[in-house]
Amino acid sequence: MRTPTSRHRSLNRPSLWLVALLAALGLSAPAAAQKQGGAVTVGLELEIPGFDPLKVGVYDTSGFMVAATLFDTLTRLDANGKAVPRLALSWTHSEDFRTWTFKLRPGVKFHDGSPFNAQAVKWNVDRQKDPANKCRCAFYITNIIAVDAPDELTVVFRLKDPSMMQPEIMAPPTANNVVLSPAAVAARGDDFNRNPSGTGPFVLKSWTGDRIVVERNPNYWNTGHPHLDRIVFKPLTDAQSRFASLQSGEADLVWDDEYDYDNIKKARADKRLVVHNYVGSGAQVYAFNTKVAPFDDLRVRQALVMAIDRKKMSQAVAGGLARPALNPYGDGSWVKCENDGALPYDPAKARELVQAYGKPVAFKGLFTATPRGRTIGQVLQQFWKQVGATMEIEQVDQATIPARAFQRQFQLTPWRIIDLADPDPQMYANFHTGSPSALAGYSNPELDRMLERARVTADMRSRNADYCEIGRHINQQAIWFWTFQNSYYAIAKAKVKGIPPLFSGIIDVSDAWLE
């Protein structure tokens, strides 16, 4: 589910066959300017625990970057966010979008020399779904009932619910999507995690301490790729020294986020550097627990939402770089609403609503135990104080927020709607009655009906209309609210070329080249 997504996707989808055919023909049209050779050093946000889904569950932003070089997925996203062939050459779907058949590329080998084929794809999915393996990764592929491998180069994905964007969902290098070598997993056992083998454009050369070195795969199926000889990945966890490393030349490209706004602004003014920014779908969000006072009262929820000045908040926490979010979809989503029903910023009206409630509005809000969590908490606390509501900030460890949220031990909790190709998985999970992550505890038959209909409608126009109606309903009921859109950053030396849009925040350097 940590998947990517497409922007600017048109509502009328052209035939996937046509796309696949065109892409297969023109796939490796070489641009004359792309120079071969050279090495790039990448500064990651975090240390990587490994690449075996059974061990690590999911990859984080740092894991994605390295996985994109070591592994391949069946599809990849083009610059417009559409799925095009990678390990799969073409695909078809059944009328109801519940069966997807992929034809695989012949002659591909894993780094350990074993062959890539339909059995390998099936083996990977089966291994993740096997209840005995208790993989955290299985949660994200519950929609896959089974994978069949009728012949050497055909895989069939059978799905529980229709998935119109399955090829897009399978494109990003997530723990679910990358294809590991079954032979290497069998041979290396526990050690595979840090000594992985895939079919990707780069081969793991060394992993000492925290430093990962990958080198060009000379047998890569995509002739002429990759362009670089070598990529060095190292975690630079401190934002200041990460940027300093870029300036002084120890790194050529670094991960970044909008809270490091000082350095992003400096980089934008620096001709030697390029800031890559991508605004995805989804948002940073908060859920009210509507089962407990004072949030069981609509007026209180509306008042708190109307008291938030997102522009001012963006100034305070991200130097103005954070983009206000007024609905759960965001600028990066294909869902476009003329009217999202967002409540306006109106502190006077908010104060009236709090007074109309009659009782004191006092509650606890959960925030992460980080300086950033404290700042955000304090800004919201100030907004709400001005309209007569008192919030006590409770800072807790990042890891305990989901546990508290799922057990409904909160009044107000932060959450996140991540950048996905389609709004359905998260909207359904977050707002349908009875779902574990329907955190607000809100239940409305009309909302449920719309969510159920939107996920199985093939016509994109009526889906769009449904999702807009769903967004309006949630905004008016103020059961969740959204602060900022998901915005992703990478800063690179100007000479580093060939970085695709950062879909889902994934910085893919596997096809980069040096000018």
Binding site: G43, E47, R136, L236, Q240, R242, A399, P402, F406
Partner: protein, 316 residues
């Protein structure tokens, strides 16, 4: 001497047992556990309970400790829950970084501290003494996270003399390795030299008031010889103690400096294992740090005997 070593090594066992037990208990008091970390956004009560059962986290804490201890006594420190790497391999991979950083930082601090201390002691209360004392307090008062950023800004970004981050292994490129460790070692040394300088200075001042120094001077020995041969050695007991404590502490990792300069040392391993509640790894690292601490202190005690014959004779 041999009995001293044996006694100290026996003493190691209860210390390590206590340290390990305490870490286990403290880590179990942290909110959240390995299961919440591993499950992340799927930490529903059901999945949490199931995973806790699988990992054995639902068993009583003392039982888990006993189990871990049993494995360790059989020589197995286990594998990290999260990475699958053996704890021994993880420590072995990071230890050279911490050792080298420790040696460079201590070396730099001593090179600065010893001459300054002697110079100050010779003219106690003089202008030079007061300037150095002031500088020492200033250097000591700047936290390493600030001095690190200032050094990076000055020497890496502005002057571009040294790299800001990026550890280069010693086996790969010696010059590159030293360059990559220069700034972190300097940062640590800035916090270390003042204490070393102060203790040596005050010991030196009292030594210089001893009768045998007056005697040496009266015999007409050169001042440099009096200072470096007659006075320095007996004045360095506290210096050795402080340096020893620093060495032991740095072997356990310099968390802040390792993080800022992105060095893959023991400190980052330790802090990472705490954040991910990777108890097996955490216990392994703490055990290692404990052993290092006790052994370094043992070495310091033996150095006393070398430096001051009175201790040697008294002990035997």
């Amino acid at each position: 001497m041999a009995s001293l070593v044996v006694r100290r090594l026996l003493y190691l066992l209860p210390v390590l047992f206590g340290v390990a037990l305490l870490t286990f208990l403290i880590a179990s008091l942290l909110p959240g556990d390995l299961a919440t970390v591993l499950l992340g956004d799927q930490a529903t009560p059901e999945t949490l309970a199931a995973l806790r059962h699988d990992l054995g986290l639902d068993r009583p804490i003392l039982l888990r400790f006993a189990h871990w201890l049993g494995e360790v006594l059989q020589g197995d420190l286990g594998r990290s829950y999260r990475t699958g790497q053996t704890v021994v391999a993880a420590i072995a991979e990071r230890l050279p970084v911490s050792i080298e950083l420790m040696l460079l930082a201590q070396g730099a601090a001593l090179v600065v501290a010893i001459p300054l201390a002697i110079a100050c002691a010779v003219r106690e209360g003089g202008r030079f003494d007061r300037i150095v004392t002031g500088a020492a307090f200033a250097s000591l008062s700047v936290p390493s996270l600030l001095s690190a950023i200032v050094l990076i800004w000055l020497l890496a970004v502005q002057l571009q003399w040294l790299p800001a981050t990026g550890y280069v292994p010693l086996g790969e490129d010696v010059a590159g390795n030293l360059r990559s460790l220069a700034l972190p070692a300097l940062t640590l040394a800035m916090g270390e030299w003042p204490a070393l300088m102060r203790v040596l200075r005050s010991d030196m001042i009292s030594t210089l008031k001893e009768d045998y120094i007056a005697m040496a001077r009266a015999k007409g020995l050169r001042p440099a010889r009096v200072l470096l041969v007659h006075a320095l050695k007996p004045s360095s007991l506290t210096l050795v103690t402080v340096a020893g404590i620093n060495i032991a502490r740095l072997l356990g990792g310099a968390v802040v400096v390792e993080t800022i300069f992105a060095l893959p040392g023991i400190g980052r391993l330790l802090i990472g294992s705490i954040f991910t509640r990777d108890l097996v790894l955490l216990q392994g690292v703490v055990l290692f740090v404990g052993i290092a601490f006790v052994l370094v202190n043992l070495a310091v005690d033996m150095l006393y005997a070398v430096l001051d014959p009175r201790i040697r004779h008294g002990g035997s």
